[in-house]
Symmetry: none
Subunit: 400 residues, 2 copies
């Protein structure tokens, strides 16, 4: 049972403040010759002490066994059913570059790539610099398709977002990205009859892009994936009567939180700067999402020691967050990224909830296994938001 | 997933007996300067010993973060989805006084109150004695509204139930109770167009009641809230093939259990008398709900020591219940009422299940935190009934 509709009925606006400190890819794993997980290896005196004074548990981002991408796992953290709100990768790309989407816009994630003799030889065109990506995007402004407005927005390195604006552009489309090299880019196909027109338009875009880029090196073609139409979803203001803010560095996290009504605060790239942004804007909001990306990047790179180092850096900054005295502080991840697996995984994620009305349990260290014996038990990620609102005394009683 | 429909298909009538000992508001909290919760402070040798021989866990009455009223939390205990069966306060009041409701009856909870110069000065009219309440209810029998039968039934002290019987009385209505003093009683409004007729009728009732009571002191007006129409819900006989009985002192608990087919047994007001009623009727039923109210009342009053005393009283009576040798004994609460919070809360509730087929786990004391490490883990309250039926060997296999 997703209780978001109940929470919406019961929620009250109050001055109490909630902070979600989200360590991307937080959960790790013992393995690849190591006797400890990243959390077990790290020295985390402040997180351990906080665990001893908090309610702890493990959460499944979507459901047991499901490895999530960052889009659905973040929606779940904020209480949105991540299957009901199945927003595509393309939409997240467009939101991440702050593109002002309109209802019915069709978006896709785009890579610049290298093709030779019609076959993809590098899906990322050697990770072209972001400035070069921007130049290529400007070139693609020349694409002309009758009845459709075309927007091509640079992201980082080889990444860009394609947005097509027009009537009836359905998103039931296959990708053009073959996902492997030594294959030709795929023709985009309609998965349902109503997407035939969109497929034709997208393939025309690809054809013109190929013509425009044909003499460029190394980026002489585009690959498209994650077609998605924009369906507005209810904001956190509407659902929870919150005035929420996002502190994040990477575009996609800004995009997904903007989608649910968060104000994206300007911040610098370091963790210390993110915490400084929290301090600066403390009086202006009652909900803060503070995103730590590097735990995930280190895990993706299979860099155990780098992930340990990021965890220890977060530990060192904890005092500044606690110093603001939020009524409720939640520390968790959007999913696990064990460095042993070099990618996202399905393992449940430690979740800590600290506040006046959170039982302190007998967990004494901030690790996966210790948290498996915490009083929160094993939750779904969508339960975290209602619990945080309750603990901040923002939910009225249900029924007499 | 609510499994009630599955259980209904699989259940068998057997002679085995199940007892639900429900300590209202059981869960407590360490806080308000105390290092222990009420359960931690209480001396509970018999409950501790039983925990050591039982399966233990924590249950969320509705869902994590949701604070329930007693109506929905009791329905959940008996396996009914408390959101699907959203019965209003008025209905519970009418059922609590044993009023023979008919489909389409519209009921409301009524308070006698004091108004002066049109403003409410006491929402409970000084808690008038029950006999006075009964006299006032007889006076209101004079109300006459064309096309509608009016019933006014006394509850306890200033509390009464109003039942209106007639065609098309929709329950999408606002309350007349302003919930605070120094305001005038509110005009009842229709929340949907189909409730306009009901709103007119209810406001006419209030007008006539005000005329009839105008020279009374202190109760010279009525306040109405929780309008609800009667929608019959399937009984425990139909769903579980049980012959269930209720042993409770307070009207609302009798009302909600009568709604699902329980026979309400006559009993005295003390815990000892309730247990004696269980003993007397032991041969007549295969399911008993025994309700302990005072754990909740003490919690609501913020009286830590009184709650501890009630818990210890229950502990002293446990031997008599076990002496009857029920096949399954469930001990839990309908929700938490920590005395530190002086009200219901969202915290999960200890649940103990004892019987031949219940794993004894490593829990050795009847406390919230000890139960968080029990083998039942963290349940939804609606899971308790299927588990109890299974443990009593009343559920057949699902599928071949």
């Amino acid at each position: 049972m997703n209780t978001q509709h109940l929470v919406r009925r019961l929620v009250k606006a109050t001055p109490s403040k909630i902070v979600f400190l989200i360590l991307d890819g937080l959960g790790g794993f013992r393995g690849a010759g190591r006797q400890q997980s990243e959390l077990e290896a790290a020295r985390l005196p402040h997180l351990d002490a906080l665990a001893a004074a908090s309610s702890c548990g493990l959460s499944d981002p979507i459901a047991p066994g499901i490895t999530p991408g960052s889009g659905p796992s973040h929606l779940a953290l904020f209480g949105y059913d991540p299957v009901e709100h199945d927003i595509g990768r393309g939409l997240l790309s467009a939101l991440g570059v702050d593109f002002p989407l309109q209802p019915s816009d069709l978006a896709a994630r785009m890579n610049y790539c290298t093709v030779r003799d019609g076959l993809v030889t590098d899906r990322r065109a050697g990770r072209v610099p972001t400035a070069e990506c921007a130049r290529l995007c400007r070139m693609l402004a020349k694409v002309e398709i009758a009845g459709v407005e075309v927007f091509v927005q640079p992201e980082q390195e080889h990444r860009a977002a394609l947005i097509l604006r027009g009537e009836g552009l359905d998103d039931h489309l296959t990708d053009s990205d073959p996902q492997v090299t030594c294959k030709a880019p795929l023709r985009v196909q309609a998965l349902e009859a109503q997407a035939e027109r969109a497929a034709t338009i997208v393939n025309e875009f690809v054809r013109q892009a190929g013509m425009i880029l044909k003499d460029e090196r190394p980026a002489n073609m585009v690959l498209l994936r994650g077609f998605a139409r924009y369906h507005p979803i209810p904001s956190m203001q509407e659902l929870y009567r919150l005035n929420p803010a996002c502190i994040a560095v990477y575009p996609m996290y800004k995009g997904v939180t903007r989608l649910i009504g968060m104000k994206v605060l300007e911040t610098g790239p370091s963790l210390g700067e993110e915490v400084a942004t929290l301090e600066t804007h403390w009086q202006e909001h009652d909900f803060f999402y503070l995103h730590v990306k590097k735990t995930d990047s280190a895990g993706e790179d299979g860099n155990f020691d780098a992930k340990v180092a990021v965890l220890e850096e977060v530990d060192g900054l904890l005092g500044r967050i606690l110093g603001l005295r939020p009524e409720v502080l939640v520390i968790t991840g959007d999913h696990s990224t064990p460095s042993a697996l070099k990618g996202h995984s399905w393992h449940p994620v430690p979740v800590l909830m600290h506040g006046r009305w959170c039982w302190p349990d007998e967990v004494r260290s901030f690790t996966e296994l210790a948290f498996s014996r915490g009083c929160l038990g094993r939750l779904r990620a969508t339960d975290i938001m209602p619990l945080a609102l309750a603990s901040a005394e923002k939910l009225a009683k249900y029924g007499a």
